[in-house]
């Protein structure tokens, strides 16, 4: 896929692109306000980064400790190497209990594994209960953001969707009215659900338990009523001890939405009376990332979405331009691990401004990682021919000062005297939506030399 082609469509609707841009920047501003109220913010980030780096370096040991403790608490632990294995395990558990109606709270892992269609094909009704996810589910679209799944949708569009599926008043678009309608509709689903499925925000090796954070309460509504709870986690969600939770929880909601903490921070340490609690631990290619020591840091991610909210490219191109489960700067460094050829354009969907690195709560050097991927893609010859040629030529010019001077002089002359049609021809990709800066008569060097 090609990010710039996909983005062109989004960007083509100028008003809409600006609206999306503002909406996401607003979330970034809230994050700044919240983090500004914690004087020790940078210390928290450093500490979180160090905890994750340590945990990833000793992941197998911590996973074994976690499993021991979880099993001792009556949690049934399953392991899956791949998305297919994960889906089969989840389906197997549901089938063994005769479950036909499942409610789900947000789990990007299950998006990655395409669990919903797998279960639906096998006759299980899957209801996404996070409001944003329910909206995109009804619209038959994937989420466009990992925390704000329906950020690309206007309230009028949601109103139309709800009118069709929930029976709300035609033309209604008031968010309060629509949310309350969704509350009633989903309450019915919660009451009839035979099983609840959640993701895992953090799994704690020391206790064998895990934490799920929501603002809506949908993870709790979905798991405290039916007699079966299945939780799905990627191997990298592990942290060593309970005391470490304080660090991550202080960072997560502030980074994601600018709140000091989510409304509900539920600590699951065993099944309810008369209930079963299953946990599926999934690799699905994470071991390949772990093997690249220089890239391992991207597994530290706590899925806050701050990098997406701040990224000027994401804000102006939208989540769908990336063609991957996770969009934005994070998606751009994850996707090439899954398929470098297919996603080779993503590390280039960036100006390397570094804003993502500045906001990442676990200090992943995202823009450095984007640059590192560009290097790796070049080594694998996965860069389009035009770019390879352009880079080779640029390299040549920059290596030879006389060539640089001559090229500069010719370029300045050409842009000044050539007809506009020639200057802004199809080869001038940069000039498609921008005016070139006015070309001076003399270069700086010439001025200094008094030529």
């Amino acid at each position: 896929m090609d990010h710039s082609k996909s983005a062109a469509e989004f960007v083509g609707n100028d008003a809409r692109a600006h609206w999306h841009d503002q909406a996401l920047w607003f979330v970034r501003v809230k994050r700044d306000r919240a983090s500004g109220q914690v004087p020790e913010w940078e210390v928290l980030r450093e500490t979180a980064a160090a905890i994750k780096a340590h945990t990833l370096a000793k992941l197998p040991e911590y996973l074994e400790e976690f499993e021991r403790n979880a099993v001792a608490r009556g949690i049934r632990v399953h392991w899956a190497s791949s998305a297919e294995e994960h889906n089969a395990i989840v389906h197997g558990i549901l089938e063994s209990k005769g479950v036909k109606r499942l409610v789900k709270s947000k789990s990007m892992l299950t998006e990655e594994c395409h669990l919903n269609p797998y279960l639906e094909d096998r006759g299980i009704e899957v209801v996404d209960t996070d409001l944003g996810e329910r909206i995109v589910q009804l619209a038959k679209e994937p989420p466009s953001h990992i925390v704000l799944p329906a950020i690309h949708k206007k309230k009028e569009e949601i109103g139309e969707l709800f009118c069709e599926h929930l029976g709300t008043a035609a033309g209604a678009s008031d968010p309060t009215y629509l949310t309350h309608a969704a509350r009633a509709h989903l309450r019915g689903k919660f009451m009839k659900a035979e099983a609840g499925l959640t993701g895992v925000n953090f799994a704690i090796a020391e206790t064998g338990g895990f934490v799920v954070c929501t603002n809506e309460g949908n993870a709790d509504m979905g798991t405290h009523l039916p007699p079966l709870h299945i939780a799905c986690m990627g191997v990298e969600k592990l942290i060593p001890r309970m005391e470490h939770l304080a660090v991550f929880l202080r960072l997560l909601a502030r980074s994601a939405t600018g709140q000091p903490v989510t409304t509900y921070t539920s600590h699951f340490h065993g099944p309810m009376r008369g209930s079963e609690l299953h946990l599926v631990i999934v690799d699905n290619g994470r071991n390949r990332i772990l093997a690249q020591e220089a890239q391992r840091t991207i597994l530290s991610c706590i899925r806050c979405g701050a990098c997406m909210n701040t990224c000027p490219v994401f804000r102006r191109s939208g989540g769908y331009s990336y063609g991957f489960t996770i969009p934005g700067p994070l998606g751009s460094v994850l996707a090439p691990h899954r398929d470098a050829g297919e996603y080779a354009s993503l590390p280039y969907a960036s100006s390397l401004c570094g804003s993502c690195t500045a906001v990442c709560p676990v200090k992943i050097p995202l823009h450095d990682q984007l640059l590192l991927w560009r290097k790796k893609l070049a080594e694998k010859h996965l860069i389009p021919l035009a770019k390879r040629v352009a880079m080779a030529l640029a390299g040549l010019v920059l290596q030879h000062p006389w060539l640089y001077r001559v090229t500069g002089k010719l370029a300045r002359l050409f842009v000044r005297i050539a007809p506009r049609l020639l200057v802004y021809g199809p080869w001038n990709i940069w000039g498609r939506q921008r005016e070139l800066p006015p070309m001076p008569a003399k270069s700086f060097r010439e001025m200094m030399k008094g030529d």
């Binding site: 500490t47 392991w79 309230k155 509504m221 470490h244 000091p260």
Partner: protein
């Protein structure tokens, strides 16, 4: 089959770390013992900060000097006056109008207007209250109710989450949670709406000095 999957995942992770270990270094774990003392934010008046944090997330804060005063405060609240189906787990605050035993079906909680539950302690930095499973006949109680009142001792407010976790112990416990304010969402055009799936209102009643 599951043992094979387990071994497969663990061995591929081990192999990944071995082949990828160019530096041979395992980053150390930061020392958290003095973290709270050295770095954890402290407030001049934790109770006042708790109240402010709670309000900023859409919750309501009430203070009463003793149980009698608390009863009077709560009786004035609209959520108490308008609620027909009430469950109170705090003796002296509100009257239960329905019975739900531990052996009952939590689905029968549907339609519950108000739940009054005990909290263990509050956290000043974010208005959260720690609620334990031991205090709930059913976990679903705190999320099914339309309105929530959580009762804490005014003296039991910690400054920050580090102090909070120093108090938590999951030995022999299988569930607990932090509740900070009412249920909410901003999924429709970033407009904040209070009352998504959980309680539409959340009040913390602090009793004491």
């Amino acid at each position: 089959m599951s043992t094979n999957a387990r071994n497969s995942v663990l061995s591929s992770l081990r192999e990944a770390l071995e082949t990828g270990a160019h530096s041979g270094k395992v980053p150390g774990l930061p020392d958290m013992k003095s973290f709270s003392r050295e770095w954890g934010i402290q407030y001049a008046n934790p109770l006042a900060q708790f109240a402010e944090s709670l309000r900023s997330v859409g919750g309501q804060f009430l203070f009463a000097t003793d149980l009698g005063a608390a009863r009077a405060e709560i009786a004035k609240q609209p959520c108490m006056k308008e609620s027909r189906k009430v469950i109170s787990l705090v003796p002296g605050i509100g009257h239960s109008t329905m019975n739900i035993s531990e052996n009952g079906d939590p689905h029968e909680l549907e339609g519950l207007d108000l739940a009054v539950i005990p909290g263990v302690f509050g956290v000043a930095e974010n208005g959260a209250v720690w609620v334990e499973e031991d205090s709930l006949p059913h976990r679903a109680l705190f999320v099914v109710a339309e309105h929530l009142v959580i009762v804490v001792k005014a003296s039991e407010i910690v400054h920050n989450m580090h102090e909070a976790y120093a108090r938590l112990d999951f030995t022999g416990r299988s569930f607990g949670l932090f509740i900070s304010g009412p249920s909410k969402t901003a999924d429709i055009e970033q407009s904040l709406v209070i009352g998504a799936h959980g309680a539409r209102s959340a009040t913390v009643l602090a009793i004491g000095s």
